[in-house]
């Protein structure tokens, strides 16, 4: 594994090339995770699985297409600004960044947009059609995309996908047909263990070092549970049908979630696990303090 790493600690960002000219930029805490996430994972119904033998880490990612027109999907957060900007310079060199494609406007997904606009003054923001009051979210002047709309970059074309499972209302997913890369933002992500050397690894590399399907399923489940608290009122069968429909519409070869390790091989092996994880999450208890 070769990752180019910028910064350290709270500002650490690693860069890896998934396939030629498609890059994964990702922040995770590494050795700091055990301290920063101790309380966070303690709120899970089974915290011992995440803070005892297997201390886990939670990444925040962006994806960069280097093509005739370059496009960055999401920006990571302001706390990682210096390293994100260094990583962009590392991949792009003297080329300008043409598009920043925003999945949704939470700070860890879009928080470096102003800094990127300053560095690349001609960059075009891309966001989801169907909202209103875009200026409130710092998205004035953005190119608005609806599901099915395409953004040609050269050898790659990004298609906006109906974001099935969201927190923020103004959300979009993306699919790139040449590579088969599906970007699903907050859905379908695993966790990794820094002490096992899993930071910046692709999922197949984790599997080669002992990460199991059972762990993947459990990770997808608990991540969905705290990412989508509305699952408290959802029907698992409807969710399963939606997942099946998604993968019937798109021939996914690479699965890129914002907060997980990239699945670049054996996609068919993970489809049922993604579906099952979502269904199991909807069957978990959701304690409501009213």
């Amino acid at each position: 594994m070769t990752a180019k790493v910028f910064g350290e600690g709270l500002n650490r960002v690693g860069v890896r090339e998934i396939v030629p000219d498609v890059f994964w930029l990702t922040h995770c805490l590494g050795d700091l995770a055990k301290d920063i996430y101790a309380d966070y994972f303690a709120l899970l119904p089974n915290p011992e699985a995440y803070v005892s033998d297997r201390v886990v880490d939670y990444p925040f990612s962006a994806f960069l297409f280097r093509d005739e027109r370059s496009c960055l999907i999401d920006t990571i957060g302001p706390a990682q600004r210096e390293s994100v900007m260094a990583a962009l310079d590392y991949v792009l060199g003297a080329r300008p960044l043409d598009y920043v494609w925003i999945s949704h406007v939470e700070l860890p997904h879009a928080g470096n947009t102003p800094a990127i606009q300053q560095r690349h003054p001609n960059v075009q923001l891309v966001t989801m059609r169907g909202g209103d009051h875009y200026a409130l979210h710092g998205l004035e002047g953005a190119l608005l995309m609806a599901p099915g709309d395409s953004l040609p970059l050269g050898r790659h074309t990004l298609e906006t996908v109906d974001a099935l499972f969201v927190d923020h209302g103004l959300s979009q997913w993306a699919f790139e047909r040449t590579t088969g890369l599906m970007f699903a933002a907050d859905w379908g992500h695993n966790l990794h263990a820094p002490a096992r050397g899993e930071c910046f690894r692709f999922l197949d590399e984790m599997v080669a070092h002992g990460y199991t399907d059972e762990q993947f399923l459990e990770d997808v489940k608990v991540n969905a549970w705290y990412q989508f608290p509305w699952l408290a009122w959802a029907d698992p069968a409807e969710l399963a049908a939606a997942v099946d429909g998604l993968f019937a519409r798109y021939a996914v070869k690479i699965f890129a979630a914002s907060h997980g390790n990239i699945i670049r091989r054996d996609m068919q092996r993970y489809l049922p696990l993604l579906r099952e994880g979502m269904c199991q999450a909807a069957s978990m208890p959701f304690p409501l303090v009213v």
Partner: protein, 255 residues
């Protein structure tokens, strides 16, 4: 500019026009016997008037706390300016939030405290209770209940768009209650996940909250305070949530 809601509770902020009507971005302030509490910090778009209104309301008393319902830009857009003006201010967030990356890095993390739902904070002689945010567009969200004014601060929930001319009107100053249709238009934009939710189950939990606590005022960020007919407004929101599922299931499919 600020408006008096009830007791020592005030409303600040402004709104923005749009295709759906005006969208308010409110900040609520409890004067709280010399230890003021802000609920959220408003939009960066309204910074000069918000800060001027806050200064005028506080009359030199520094705010003790900012409670963030969540950290989306319209709720933290002036946090940096507030922290610069009153550097000792403490920020309280949901324990599901990761402050180091989800809050703008504009004040020391030692001044940010994450609390669990159910936490009761006794400050200035009043009890403020942090609750599960039943409707939220960010996992790290919370609702807050003030036992003194019986106000429930609901973040993005219970919002509604308003017409030009209604920008400063509380619910009781409008010719009629906020309708189901108005709540629906807002909630289906804010909470796209409602296409998956079974409304009867969601509405039962909402009813449980309103049964558990006496609520006289609902304070949404994206609407003016609802000061009267609380049961009617709850009913209209529940009706909107029932309709949202069907309305949203037709949105988002590729052509």
């Amino acid at each position: 500019m600020h408006s008096h809601v009830a007791g020592d509770l005030y409303q600040l902020g402004a709104c923005v026009p749009g295709e759906n009507g005006h969208e308010a971005v409110r900040v609520y302030v409890l004067e709280n016997a010399g230890q003021p509490v802000l609920i959220d910090c408003g939009s960066h778009l309204h910074r000069p008037e918000f800060m001027a209104g806050l200064e005028a309301l506080l009359k030199g008393v520094p705010p003790a706390y900012v409670f963030l319902t969540h950290s989306e830009l319209p709720h933290v857009g002036n946090l940096q300016r507030v922290a610069q003006r009153w550097p000792a201010v403490q920020v309280i967030v949901s324990n599901v939030m990761l402050p180091y990356i989800e809050i703008p890095p504009v004040l020391p993390l030692s001044q940010v405290t994450a609390v669990r739902p159910g936490t009761v904070l006794d400050v200035g002689g009043r009890k403020l209770v942090f609750l599960t945010a039943l409707l939220r567009d960010q996992p790290g969200s919370q609702w807050i209940y003030d036992t003194l004014t019986r106000a429930l601060f609901t973040g993005d929930a219970f919002g509604y768009y308003h017409a030009a001319g209604e920008c400063e009107a509380f619910s009781d100053q409008l010719p009629q209650d906020i309708s189901t249709a108005r709540f629906l238009r807002y909630h289906q934009n804010a909470f796209r996940f409602l296409r998956w939710t079974q409304p009867a189950r969601l509405n039962a939990d909402l009813a449980r909250l309103f049964h558990a606590r006496p609520i006289d005022i609902i304070c949404p960020t994206h609407g003016n305070a609802l000061r009267t007919n609380i049961s009617a407004h709850l009913h209209n929101v529940q009706s909107a949530l029932s309709s949202a599922r069907t309305a949203l299931q037709s949105i988002g499919q590729p052509a």
